[in-house]
Amino acid sequence: MRYRNVWSEVPPAEVVNTPSRFDHAIGPFNVVISDACDHCLKCTAACPEKVFESRGGKLAPPKDHLCLGIDCSTKSTRCVRSCPVGAIRVGINPDARALGDRRWTSDLLMSTWHMAETGRVPKNGLEYRIGGSGGGFDKLRLVFPRRLPRPSLDKDSIDTSVTLNRRNDGRHKIDIPIPVYGGGMSFGSISQITMLARIRAFAAWGSFTCTGEGGYPEALYPFDDHIITQVATGLFGVREETLQRVKIIEFKYAQGAKPGLGGHLLGPKVTEAVARIRETVPGSSLFSPFPFHSVYSVEDHKKHVDWVKAVNTKALVSVKVSTPSDVDMVAIGSYHAGAHILHIDGSYGGTGAAPDVAKKNIAMPVEYAIPKVHNFLVEEGVRKEITLIASGGIRTAFDIAKAIALGADGVVTGTSDLVSLECLRCHNCESGRGCARGIATTDLELVGLMDLQWASQRIINMLACWREQLREILYRFGLGSIRELVGRTDLLAHLDYTSDVPDDDIRDQLR
């Protein structure tokens, strides 16, 4: 048998069923089998979702996260009534209530897990489009026409790609087939397995992943063509050699979750490996200062962009900024400085560690910033020459569609990738040994909780499901390409300004 090195392979962008790595996946319902069960296995035939399976002639613990619910279970042909000894009980899962928060509700977590496992939208009534934050994306709705505008449209050929270089300046011409790439998460804040899983999954879809500000571990070399390397204020691990490896270089001026504050990696997470890549000392906390002390004006900024353009003569330059009230000015400044991609990171974005006071209060949510920047760039006549990417609170395919309809060309995600790896947003990435679920940690034991192939596949599945949803959304709008959706605010409604907004659930069959 030939040795396959999955560590350096780009996997195919195909959905493969990838169940939870824990014994008991969490779903909205609980299926309990009492001791009365005599393993007759009649239930295995009664369930359409394969909740019940036999293992060695006996009934295995039920996969109750797939269960369609109490109504289904009590139908005459289904599990509860088909059990001759009455051993099956289906109820609401009490654990679900203890999960999640307002932005990532327990429904959104569980539905994202479902997508990562199966590549499909959950059937059991879980909300998969919005969270419960009560504003922004969660109050925006897609308004589909009552009748299909273009029934002849071939759903499978709907274009979801985005052009990253719109300048025609002789640098790389890059189109990514999905309107999303992976946001910067540094080695150190997440494990190498998590990092590689994201890179492999986005590479599978022909897209990119940003390294974050933690250097460029050697394990990433096979994926050079799918990596964006970040130059941030701490310049950790930034060398000419790393800048020359890649096709896209990202300047990070600020991060949405902690704008104006810079980064902070706590000492315990700075292991030997992390310190080596970052060229620092193990065990000692690392600060990325704010701001770039070499940049105090747009002219300085141009000097920065010119510098990397000289170091790498083919690479595209992305500028990542947060969302202050003058973000439109920053945007036009970045355009004139020569950026190909303007990446705005809204205030509700992710982080491995940030003061709560900053996450909640500083800078504006990205829902306000996208149209502000988009419309300003249109007014200035340069919108067609720069790619606008939004991040900071993009959780679902619907968020993507809404962000694009507000004026972005594409989006960057981070938290959703981790959620597909079974992150449940306990907010403890920064404490002690790091993530108890082995995602955002460098602890040797905890890192071992996750397998690379499993993790890559989970993200591939989620992205597959997102793309299908985006295609369905475009199909219902009668749009042949996601590029036609950019800035189409006429296809959106906001619950505060419009009454009787129809439900935009794409699980409902078209009439």
């Binding site: 504003g135 001026y253 704010f290 449940l424 679920r437």
Partner: protein, 462 residues
């Protein structure tokens, strides 16, 4: 380099087990007694630290659990479940939410800024202070120093009725006399809590803390007498003029209630002691006249106008009363129009529950704020209001050791001070005095909504 203001914090444990967010429901029946129990593998050693509390007659696991669900998902018989702790959910009220109460406890215990992983998990926006964001800038403001300039950030504010300009006589000699002022190193004063299981010990703890961080505390006159050793840091609230003569000698500042003859009384107090600072407390419904009244009081020489909203931060006794942030914007605007803004010192209190509320109040126009309830929450108050009904305090705040209490309050203020520095660093503001009414560093939801969704999507409003 001159000595920098620093609040010295030290870990000060709770007296009672903390009420945690999550609970674990664990059905022992059916347990396989498997050798490799998930409980022993807990990353946070929760199951090893758990103990049976005789106070609350329950397992005290809640305070250690960090919600990673590993045990829930790992138990082979699926016997472990998680719930939200109903006791936690019942904490506080709509302003002092369970989240805020818990965060305040942690800050009082550790003195550290709350830091966490993953993005913000709360509501998009909300009423009151949750309807605004502070601003920062990426590139174009050369004044900002960010977090690494924090040692140069000053949080000092002054309390005084400052003359608009200096006056000189014909020979160029300064005519304006010395005017009294107090300078406190952070824009936070203490105000007496509206309710609570108060005792001599509690008053002592609060006064001790005010003295240690060098701020001032408004206290009822009788407490000022009892706490004579802290008089430099206490502001006696003189309901009526019976004690005026006896108390003003020892104090830098006194406070009187607003009323018909308040202005006259201010003159009388100032006549008794020339360098005395006098504050007027406007408690009841301020209404639209509040701003005019603030201007009037400032013209009459009042050093500090203290507006107290109800404990939730809204105008007391008014239906649909305004939030203090809106009151502050209104008063600030009127003082500006009247060309009194630099002369007046305007303080708000009521509903200041978190560090961000301090900055937000100031951006709306207050010179400084006063805190009340958080002082008690630092002492483990659960905002259960048993004391208001005359029932026993579940954590017996009245029996605390004053030194313990003072440490807890100092810790809380230390954590708040650091949060002020973080936010000011992001804004590129190095002087707390410059926060007052700084419209260039604040975004209000009504403006953002108007500019965005109302403009783009509003025409379909029906």
């Amino acid at each position: 380099m001159p000595r920098k203001y620093h609040i010295d914090v030290q870990a000060t444990p709770n007296r009672y087990p903390v009420i945690g967010r999550s609970g674990i429901v664990d059905w022992g029946e059916g347990c396989l007694k498997c050798a490799q129990c998930v409980k022993y593998q807990c990353v946070y050693n929760v199951y090893r630290e758990r103990s049976f509390s005789s106070d609350i007659l329950a397992d005290t696991i809640d305070q250690f659990c960090k919600n990673c669900f590993r045990c829930v998902q790992g138990c082979p018989k699926r016997l472990i479940h998680k719930t939200l702790n109903p006791e936690w959910e019942a904490l506080g009220d709509d302003i002092y939410t369970p989240e805020i109460v818990s965060a305040t406890w942690t800050q009082a215990e550790t003195g550290k800024i709350p830091v966490s992983g993953a993005g913000y998990g709360g509501a998009f926006s909300g009423p009151g202070f949750d309807s605004m964001w502070t601003d920062m800038s990426e590139i174009v403001r050369p004044t900002r120093d960010g977090i690494h300039g924090r040692e140069y950030i000053s949080t000092v504010v002054e309390i005084s009725n400052r003359p608009f300009n200096l006056e000189f006589d014909s020979v160029g000699k300064i005519r304006t006399g010395q005017w009294p002022f107090a300078r406190i190193p952070l824009p936070i004063m203490f105000d007496f809590p509206r309710f609570g299981d108060l005792s001599e010990r509690v008053w002592q703890a609060m006064a001790l803390a005010a003295a240690e961080i060098d701020t001032m505390m408004v206290v009822p006159a009788e407490q000022a007498q009892a706490l004579a050793e802290f008089s430099h840091h206490l502001v006696p609230f003189l309901e009526d003029d019976r004690l005026d003569g006896a108390l003003i000698e020892r104090h830098r500042m006194v406070q009187i209630p607003d009323g018909e003859n308040a202005i006259e009384r201010v003159s009388r107090l100032k006549a008794m002691k020339a360098d005395l600072l006098v504050s007027v407390r406007i408690g009841a419904a301020g209404g639209p006249d509040l701003a005019a009244r603030s201007a009037e009081l400032t013209r009459a020489g009042v050093d500090l106008v203290h507006y107290t909203a109800d404990e939730r931060g809204y105008e007391a006794g008014v239906e649909n009363g305004r939030h203090i942030k809106d009151v502050a914007r209104n008063v600030h605007g009127v003082l500006l129009q009247e060309r009194l803004r630099d002369q007046a010192t305007f303080m708000v209190s009521g509903g200041i529950a978190m560090a961000e509320h301090v900055i937000k109040s100031m951006l709306c126009g207050a010179n400084l704020v006063a805190v009340d309830m958080p002082l008690l929450v630092a002492l483990e108050c659960r905002v259960c209001r048993n004391c208001v009904a005359g029932a026993r305090c579940p954590v017996q705040i009245s029996s605390i050791d004053p030194r313990w209490g003072s440490r807890r309050i100092v810790n809380l203020m230390g954590a708040w001070h650091n949060q002020l520095l973080e936010m000011m660093g992001a804004m590129g503001i190095r002087e707390a005095r410059r926060l007052r009414g700084e419209q260039g560093r604040v975004m209000f939801i009504e403006d953002l909504e108007e500019d965005t969704f109302a403009r783009l999507l509003g025409n379909s409003k029906s």
